[in-house]
Amino acid sequence: MAEQAETMRSTVASMLRGIERYNPENISTLERYVELQARENTYDLEANLALLKLYQFNPGTYQNTVACQILMKALTNLPHTDFVLCKCLLGQEQMEDSNVKRIMYLHDLLEMCQFRTFWNEKDQYANLTTNIKDFSDSIRKYVCHVITITYQYIEKQVLSQLLGNVDEAALQAWMSKYGWKVDEDGNVFIANQEDTVKTKNITEKIDFDSVAGIMAACR
């Protein structure tokens, strides 16, 4: 069934070419496409932004549930800034909606990497998250991304916490997915950061060309 979204992808892409993307008759197709993305865990940023833009041009057609779905899908694509792009296309009145406000709160938590709070409170947002297939796993992918760029090795306990207190089996699954191994001290080795993160000394390099003229004049 994941093929449904994929076949729609090319149909939708042709709808977004040139002046057609502003045609309000495309709204219902695009709304269905968002629903498909949520159900099948696929993602199409351009189509979603185009739909939000159509809502902007035709305020009477705005559907809050669809907009919330788009925002939730944007969360699953962190660390990309898709959520910010979506926010820019909404209006002030639409931002006042209680569900939109709740999603923005989740976004704040995730952007500020307050993962423990996020996992603790996530269940309160079940009405928003259950519609999105594999929502939690997408967030865990983002958490792993942040861990990869930050840690050389991390305590197993901390890792488990950041991933939402998953059980041992799930933890092992995530670790093998990223190739993380446990070392002698019981810590999880992430990556050798020493090569990428080291003190840089930028000294001035004067090359021959810039002084060639001067040296010639010194004769």
Partner: protein, 592 residues
């Protein structure tokens, strides 16, 4: 898919004559102040009459060589005769027998004349255009684009690139002006509101988009750019219309127009996407109108900033600001185009300052010193201390004038409806600033050490270890953004971190890496040496009677000696410095 015929049909019901149905007092009766004072029929200055006749003939005969200078003369004559008054309107031209109403040969001249006439009113007349004038100007643009787009073969008209750019720029500007005007319902009278309600199609966002997209499609500009960047000949894919300079350049300028329009509506992704075939970092034949270049870089940089691609934004702003520094002399004369360029320059410096606070990195020396010179250094200091008011102020000054694409609900618009688009973009920006608040504090702590246990540093900042860890993760996350590396599309890029201060966590220890930049002496000395050479050369040309001039055969020249002395000093400083820095590094590593 819109085609040219559909374009014609949409406007068929709005022939120019309908403009007269809108009420405005006929000239000669009623209040002069309503239309702005202007010369009555019998006294157009002679020089202006001659100019208009000459211009009319040039357009009639397709005299390509004279048109550019005539276009420039319009500004000169404006400064002399029409500083605060409008040019003679078309009725006056008929009255003075400068143009014959019956002669269809001059239709296109009149369209072009009106373009200049209304543009001047928008720019110079106190109080701006009246509502009928706004409508008339819109119809005039429709006529112009209709003429260009619905022709079966390319129209035999060639206008200077500067003018073509200004047509597109002004078209969008007038749309912007009308949208904002329409949203400010507070001070409008009943008849005015009625007039606006009855004309939903005028200055409609779809019409504006339609024009721009049609110009892009007609000229095949995207295909042309694709072929051009891969080294081929654009003419091979241009098609009949695209080969004609008028269409090609209008197509190109329309892409920039779309960049601007999408940015004004808050769609930054689409804004950058429309430029996907234009290599911004390369000089090309398309980029010869400075105002167009500067506008492009302004909007691209702003879009990158809102997308949190700070490194890209900084690079974009630096590039154009260096260019502007070098060509400063060009923008000194006072006209409204240069005013706009100068304003955008100031705005870009401010945006650059914001980006540098959020994402400190090294930039070009020239730009760095300009930032220091202007009052921006103070603002940057305040922003680094997380004073949100300063962020708000800077953003408000530097941002584009955002728009809503739809008219307000005339019967029930909230009080500050016209400010809502701006408020929304400001909120998105300030939310981002809020999320990054802890980062600058972290950065200053990180700079102080090379290694440090997490709990110790958390204690310094009065945070629990948990909160501190979150702040560290947030730092890493926010400093790692997408940066363009290759290809023409500005949207492409990889996640990179160019942060000056970087770190990683090993268990419960933080290892910090800083970037030390050594003092640059070489550049300074080289420049001074060259200057000295020049001075010496001009000195040696000076003949003082009775004395032997320097540099003549008998006395050895002084400069080479000085030069070699300076050069010696330079090399010894550089060598010494290198040794000093590496000693310093060793010392730091030893202090944990």
């Amino acid at each position: 898919m819109y085609n040219a015929n559909e374009f014609v049909d949409e406007y068929e019901s709005y022939p120019l004559e309908d403009a007269e149905n809108y009420h405005y007092s006929a000239r000669g009766e009623g209040d002069f102040s309503e239309r702005g004072a202007h010369y009555p029929t019998y006294s157009i200055p002679e020089e202006v009459k001659k100019y208009i006749t000459y211009f009319r003939d040039a357009i009639r005969d397709g005299n390509v060589y004279d048109i550019p200078s005539l276009y420039v003369d319009f500004n000169r004559l404006t400064e002399e005769y029409f500083k605060t008054q409008s040019w003679p309107d078309v009725e006056d031209l008929y009255g003075n027998k400068l143009v014959d109403q019956q002669d269809t040969r001059d239709d296109i001249f009149l369209i072009l004349y009106r373009e200049l006439y209304y543009r001047h009113i928008y720019a110079r007349i106190q109080g701006g255009p009246t509502i009928p004038q706004r409508f008339e100007s819109y119809y005039n643009y429709c006529n112009l684009f209709n003429y260009i787009l619905s022709a079966e073969t390319p129209v035999p008209m060639e206008l200077p690139n500067q003018w073509l750019w200004e047509i597109i720029d002004e078209f969008i500007y007038q749309f912007q002006s009308f949208s904002q005007f329409r949203s400010k319902l507070g001070k409008k009278s009943e008849p005015e509101i009625e007039m606006l309600k009855e004309s939903p199609k005028i200055w409609n966002v779809h019409s504006v988009l339609n024009v721009l997209h049609c110009l892009v499609d007609k000229s095949n500009i995207n295909r042309q750019l694709e072929v051009y960047t891969s080294g081929g000949d654009p003419d091979s894919v241009a098609g009949e219309f695209g080969r004609h300079p008028l269409y090609k350049m209008l197509g190109y300028f329309s892409l920039i127009g779309l960049l601007r329009l999408h940015s004004l509506l808050g769609d930054y992704y689409q804004a950058i996407k429309v430029l996907e075939n234009i290599e911004l970092n390369k000089k090309s034949m398309y980029s010869r109108v400075p105002a167009c270049q500067i506008t492009t870089y302004y909007y691209v940089g702003f879009a990158y900033m809102m997308m949190r691609r700070y490194a890209d934004a900084i690079r974009t702003f630096s590039n154009i600001l260096v260019y502007i520094q070098r060509t400063k002399a060009m923008f000194q004369t006072r006209n409204y185009q240069n005013d706009q360029i100068n304003k955008q320059t100031e705005q870009m410096y401010t945006l650059l300052a914001i980006c540098m606070v959020l994402h400190p990195q090294r930039i070009d020396e020239v730009v760095q010193s300009s930032l220091r010179e202007k009052t921006l250094a103070e603002k940057m200091a305040r922003m680094s201390r997380n004073e949100t008011a300063e962020f708000t102020q800077c953003f408000t000054f530097a941002c584009p004038k955002f728009l809503s694409p739809v008219p307000p609900p005339f019967d029930s618009a909230p009080a500050n409806y016209h400010k809502e688009p701006f408020q929304q973009q400001l909120k998105v920006f300030m939310d981002e600033v809020q999320q990054q608040q802890q980062i600058s504090v972290m950065r200053s702590y990180l700079k102080l050490y090379t290694t440090m246990p997490m709990e110790k540093m958390a204690a310094f900042q009065d945070l629990t270890e948990d909160d501190f860890r979150n702040a560290l993760l947030c730092f890493k996350h926010k400093m790692r953004n997408i940066v363009w590396t290759k290809g023409t599309s500005g949207l492409q890029g990889d996640f990179q971190s160019d942060s000056e201060v970087d770190f990683f966590i090993a268990g419960s220890m933080i290892h910090i890496a800083d970037t030390k930049v050594a003092q640059r002496y070489g550049d300074f000395f080289i420049r001074q040496i060259h200057k000295l050479e020049e001075v010496n050369r001009s000195l040696s040309k000076v003949k003082v009677s009775g004395c032997v001039p320097r540099g003549s055969v008998d006395s050895p020249p002084l400069a080479p000696h000085l030069t070699s002395i300076l050069f010696f000093i330079l090399t010894s400083i550089v060598n010494h410095d290198a040794a000093y820095v590496s000693n310093d590094m060793v010392r730091r590593r030893q202090n944990t």
